[in-house]
């Protein structure tokens, strides 16, 4: 069974992420574990030593646990399999990375509200947690219907890491999978969006090749994509198109720079986004 860790805070993004995770768990048969890290400012972290510090930490843990339990209990009726949350005090990213490694999770999920300003998304992608997490990460931006998954493929090197991750997580589900090969429109260049079976616009040969390879990898494992698309457009237009999917998955190597236009695209996708980084 897939084992997922859901990061929770007392905020709207976490509430949405938890509801989305519950829906996903029901569809793919996934065991959810929730975790909250109580971050304390460095100045305020150590009010004393020994008994004083230990008592202070216990109090902090108890308060956090009560708050997160309240959040979990709200969803309990629709997601009965939720256990008590893991609560830690410390540096959030460090604690989550430790837990992901120690618990051998297959998936990490957290909520990030969809923002018109992409800066927060860029920061997330560049964060230590996102670069070093040993499993794929789902960023839940909105509570969307989990009807279908879009696999975004830019070139040949994306195929193996992305398909391998997807097959590991979704192999037992009956979710519809679409393959999408994207290229970004160059200055005033042509735009197109067509299914592979439809007429071929010149310049999409590479897309056909990449999609063919992905299709073959999937079909070897008994998974057959419903549709395959080749799209050339601006990141915003591609993101708008992807809004119809319940999950958009992409491979972003850990060393990707800030100028990667795929990150710009993903920052504008309103659906949940699965990032595969290894």
């Amino acid at each position: 069974m897939i084992k997922a860790l859901v990061s929770l805070n007392m905020d709207l993004a976490s509430s949405i992420a938890l509801r989305y995770s519950c829906r996903l768990a029901e569809i793919i048969g996934m065991k959810l574990h929730t975790m909250h890290v109580e971050e304390v400012d460095k100045e305020g972290y150590s009010p004393g030593t020994g008994w004083v510090r230990s008592t202070w930490e216990k109090g902090l843990l108890q308060t956090s646990q009560e708050e997160i339990l309240q959040l979990i209990n709200t969803e309990k009726s629709s997601c009965p399999s939720l256990d008590a949350p893991i609560i830690r005090i410390g540096e959030r990213e460090e604690e989550l990375l430790h837990e992901i490694d120690d618990g051998s999770y297959d998936l990490f999920i957290e909520g990030v509200l969809h923002s018109f300003n992409a800066v927060n998304f860029y920061k997330k992608i560049q964060s230590k947690l996102y670069r070093y997490a040993s499993c794929p990460i789902i960023i839940v931006k909105n509570l969307v219907d989990l009807n279908s998954i879009a696999l975004l493929l830019g070139d040949d090197t994306d195929v193996r890491p992305l398909i391998t991750s997807i097959l590991k997580i979704f192999t037992k589900s009956e979710l519809t999978v679409d393959l999408i090969h994207y290229t970004f429109q160059k200055f005033k260049g042509s735009v197109f969006r067509e299914k592979v079976d439809d007429s071929k616009t010149p310049g999409r040969e590479n897309g056909d090749k990449v999609l063919g390879k992905a299709e073959m990898m999937l079909s070897e494992m008994g998974c057959y994509p419903k549709d395959s698309w080749v799209i050339q457009d601006s990141p915003k237009k591609i993101a708008d198109f992807l809004g119809g999917y319940g999950l958009v998955a992409a491979y972003i190597p850990s060393h990707s720079g800030m100028k990667n236009r795929l990150i710009e695209l993903l920052s504008q996708v309103p659906s949940a986004t699965l990032l595969c980084r290894r």
Binding site: L12, L113, F116, N117, N142, L143, V144
Partner: protein, 297 residues
């Protein structure tokens, strides 16, 4: 709910009447159709004094009559809440233990009126809305004429800015695929949320709720309100998207997101958008966008 539909003789007004009829079928609102005969002489009709006088068999009354028929055609006769009078026998209890079958006249469940006022269109529309305590004014326009009415008057823009109630400027150029709803989460009324709910149902559209963040990020109380709005719609089987926009990029945001067919802006007194969006920007949005604009108050 009281809806005032301001119409002229252009095709977009016919489209607007149809949209209101669909809305009224869901809400059973009291509806008034208002045509305004301008005192000004249209440039292309010369200065002949005869054109200034208003006639009951003139083009505006005829058009209004056609709009009325069109509006009522959206209702099945037996379900129509606007059927004026219905005569028939009905058992009435005269006093305890004594009933009598009386020939009675039932009035319409809801009011539907067709009116004409003479004067300046903006002033007359606003005056009618005030007198009748209208909740929503609906008017149409199209972008090909810069959203202007007769005599090049920017009626929709001025009404949207100056009305005390909510105003919907309906355009037919763009199908409503998604309603982008910029709400002030501190003050938004239940009635406004319900109106959005109706429009979502009417157009089978998706919904995006926009939360405004200050430079230091989204405030906890805004998040709580957003969560409440989200749950309100979930209970009605609507799954809205949430999007956060910074007030500093409000202009760009509105320009970009107006592509979806209907942009709803909460501009009640003391609201964030009332402060952040001056009248000139609202005018520009209504004039330039192919999407319909709903100003909620």
């Amino acid at each position: 709910m009281r809806i005032l539909v301001a119409v002229d003789q252009n095709p977009y007004s016919a489209h607007t009447v149809g949209e209101v009829a669909k809305l009224a079928a869901n809400t059973w609102a009291n509806v008034s159709l208002l045509g305004v005969q301008s005192k000004r002489v249209p440039k292309n009709e010369g200065s002949d004094a005869k054109t200034r006088s208003w006639k009951t068999d003139g083009p505006l009354p005829n058009v209004l009559s056609a709009y009325r028929d069109n509006f009522l055609s959206y209702f099945k006769e037996e379900d129509c809440p606007y059927t004026e009078r219905e005569f028939g026998y009905k058992m009435i209890e005269l006093r305890k233990g004594l009933w009598e079958e009386l020939y009675v006249c039932k009035s319409a469940k809801k009011n539907f009126r067709a009116l004409i006022r003479i004067g300046n269109p903006v002033k007359e529309i606003l005056a009618e809305a005030k007198e009748e305590e209208t909740d929503l004014i609906v008017l149409g326009c199209d972008t090909s004429q810069g959203c202007s009415w007769e005599n090049n008057m920017a009626v929709p823009q001025k009404v949207a800015n100056d009305a005390a109630c909510s105003v919907l400027v309906a355009k037919k150029e763009k199908k409503v695929e998604r309603i982008v709803c910029c709400l002030d989460h501190d003050r938004v009324s239940q009635q406004s949320l319900e109106m959005i709910n109706q429009l979502v149902t009417l157009h089978s559209a998706k919904l995006t709720i926009v939360g405004f963040a200050e430079s230091e990020g989204i405030k906890t109380r805004v998040e709580k309100k957003l969560d409440n709005v989200l749950r309100y719609y979930h209970e009605r089987d609507i799954e809205p998207w949430i999007e956060i926009a910074e007030l500093s990029s409000l202009d760009t945001f509105i320009a970009q997101e107006a592509q979806w067919g209907l942009m709803a802006l909460w501009m009640g007194k003391m609201s964030i958008l009332e402060k952040a969006l001056p009248k000139s920007k609202v005018k520009k949005l209504i004039k330039g966008s192919e999407s319909s604009v709903l100003i909620l108050r």
